[in-house]
């Protein structure tokens, strides 16, 4: 698997650390909404197909990345910095596919 880091270019997957499901929404730290915290910690969409996920380029520029990747084929559809203008594109792609 090659992941094309927006900063460093195409790099082998060993340089990256998987940070898990990117669909989860972390509640406000002050929130006492029990269900929202439970859902954030334990519930997963786990789709067979395009998956919106977070990777860190830990062996490179150390940027956190939002990656849309197909869990059936391992094909990588989009990579973007998690903050900034690219983020919305990745999200839209993930939403369009779902």
């Amino acid at each position: 698997m090659l992941i094309t880091c927006p900063y460093c270019g195409p790099r082998d997957v060993v340089e990256f650390t998987y940070q898990g499901d990117g669909n989860r929404e972390r509640p406000d730290p002050a929130s006492q909404n029990f269900e929202a915290w439970n859902a954030y910690v334990y519930d997963r969409l786990n789709p067979a197909g395009d998956h919106n996920e977070i990777w860190q380029h830990s062996g490179g520029c150390r940027a956190h990345l939002r990656v849309v990747r197909n869990t059936l084929t391992h094909e990588i559809l989009s990579v973007a910095f998690i903050r900034g203008a690219h983020t919305s594109t990745a999200r839209r792609k993930a939403e369009d596919k779902s």
Binding site: M1, D12, V13, V14, Y18, G20, D21, N38, A39, V41, Y42, D43, R44, L45, N46, P47, A48, H51, E53, R69, T71, L72, T73, H74
Partner: protein
């Protein structure tokens, strides 16, 4: 019931040219309805059908399998069987399974080649050795066998192991469960399939579930690639495909992630190791099959995947770990590798429960330890389906334990499935 396979039947059939053997299971067409439908014709689904018929007299049962029987994880694992857990809920459940393994060939009249060759966890630091002592004591407290071994004892047991001080991670001791071992995984699937079939269960292969029939909230059957089938009870035992199947039932999220685990086998060697050994400074385990191939594996790839194949970094890691323990294997050729999809739960422990919808029963969350659980999983799931309540053995393995704060996290990793 007279044993179908025996020395006598072997001889009689040999004299008749082996033309009269019955197929081990029929190939029936699905009926319009059943008392119980089990989705998933893997080890757990087939064992569930077997115990429903044998223990509870429920024989109007169909097992629906998308591919061919045993094409999933029951034929893809590294065949280790053990019950060396720390937490009481896991220890009791897996020890129940171990006791069932000890009589399984006899029970099924099918040689599953269960070989209690032991399972040795290697410790590479004094702290890890202390931790193994704690786990060994926890096991013995619940009546499970465990013993600590010194490096000298380990060297006698596994002469090929690099036990020197110059090893990358010197071995300081180990925790041995002598009653652990290996079994022939295909035989487990075939033995349960034949046992269930002979008691009247319909095993329907090439039958993919495409949706659920509903009456309000209640699940009343399934739509499949071979037509609609109704049932009073629908049981789901689909391991890595749990997320996909539950989404067909409208359950969007589960405390499960599907990950790919790879396994490997070498060319056949002369007798090299007669136990199961695990590396303590990474994640590696190895045993030798009766054919002579070394069967081994390591960690999951570590990202969500439904592909039954992995990537090269884990291959590299597993080989490195193997050579750290056994430098003498450097020139041995790897024969095959493959991948299976594991249903990684949020605490590393399984789920065997009624629900989550009325009329539905759920068996999942096996991470990569489902094979050794096969007999107890089927036995407990059958109990749960027949009586609409869990047995004591699987009562802790609920689906709502995560939301209730009752997780069973043997490894203490938290809600991070790729680390279990």
């Amino acid at each position: 019931m007279m044993a179908e396979y025996s020395a006598f039947s072997l001889l009689a059939n040999a004299l008749k040219g082996n033309k009269d053997w019955k197929p081990a299971w029929r190939k029936p067409d699905p009926k319009a309805s059943y008392d119980v439908i089990i989705i998933g014709g893997g080890g757990h689904g087939l064992a569930t059908a077997y115990y429903l018929a044998k223990e509870h007299g429920i024989t109007n049962v169909a097992v629906l399998e998308k591919g061919w029987l045993g094409s999933g994880n029951v034929g893809r694992n590294t065949t280790a069987v053990r019950s060396n857990y720390l937490l009481p809920a896991n220890t009791r459940f897996y020890e129940h399974s171990m006791k069932m393994w000890e009589n399984l060939s006899h029970e099924l009249n099918y040689n599953v080649m269960f070989s209690q060759r032991g399972c040795l966890n290697l410790a590479h630091t004094p702290a890890q050795f202390d931790d193994y002592a704690r786990r060994g004591n926890a096991m013995r407290h619940l009546g499970v066998d465990a013993e600590l071994m010194t490096p000298a004892q380990i060297k006698r047991l596994i002469p090929a192991l690099d036990i020197s001080d110059s090893a990358r991670f010197p071995v300081v001791g180990g925790l041995m469960q002598r009653r652990a071992g290996t079994a022939r995984h295909d035989a487990v699937a075939w033995g349960y399939a034949r046992g269930a079939d002979r008691r009247g269960v319909d095993i329907i292969e090439n039958c993919e579930v495409t949706g659920f029939l509903r009456d309000g909230d209640r699940v009343t059957g399934v739509t499949t690639s071979r037509g609609d089938i109704r049932a009073r009870k629908v049981a789901v035992a689909v391991a890595g495909s749990t997320g996909r199947v539950m989404q067909l039932a409208g359950v969007e999220t589960m405390p499960i992630e599907s990950h790919v685990l790879q396994a490997f086998v070498t060319e056949s060697l002369k007798p090299f190791i007669d136990t199961v050994v695990t590396f303590g400074m990474g994640h590696f385990y190895m045993s030798q099959s009766d054919k002579g191939g070394l069967i081994y594996g390591g960690d999951i790839d570590g990202y969500n995947s439904y592909a039954q194949r992995g990537n090269l970094p884990i291959v590299d890691e597993v080989m490195s770990e193997m050579l750290a323990l056994f430098p003498g294997l450097a020139r041995v050729r790897m024969l095959r590798s493959w991948g299976g999809v594991c249903d990684m739960s949020m605490d590393g422990s399984p789920i065997i429960t009624t629900g989550p919808l009325p009329g539905m029963y759920l068996n999942c969350g096996w991470c990569y330890g489902g094979f050794k659980a096969t007999p107890a999983s089927g036995w407990c799931f059958a109990w749960t389906i027949a009586k609409d309540q869990p047995h004591d053995f699987n009562a802790p393995f609920t689906l709502d334990r995560f939301h209730r704060g009752l997780v069973i996290d043997d490894k203490g990793q938290g809600a991070n499935p790729r680390l279990h």
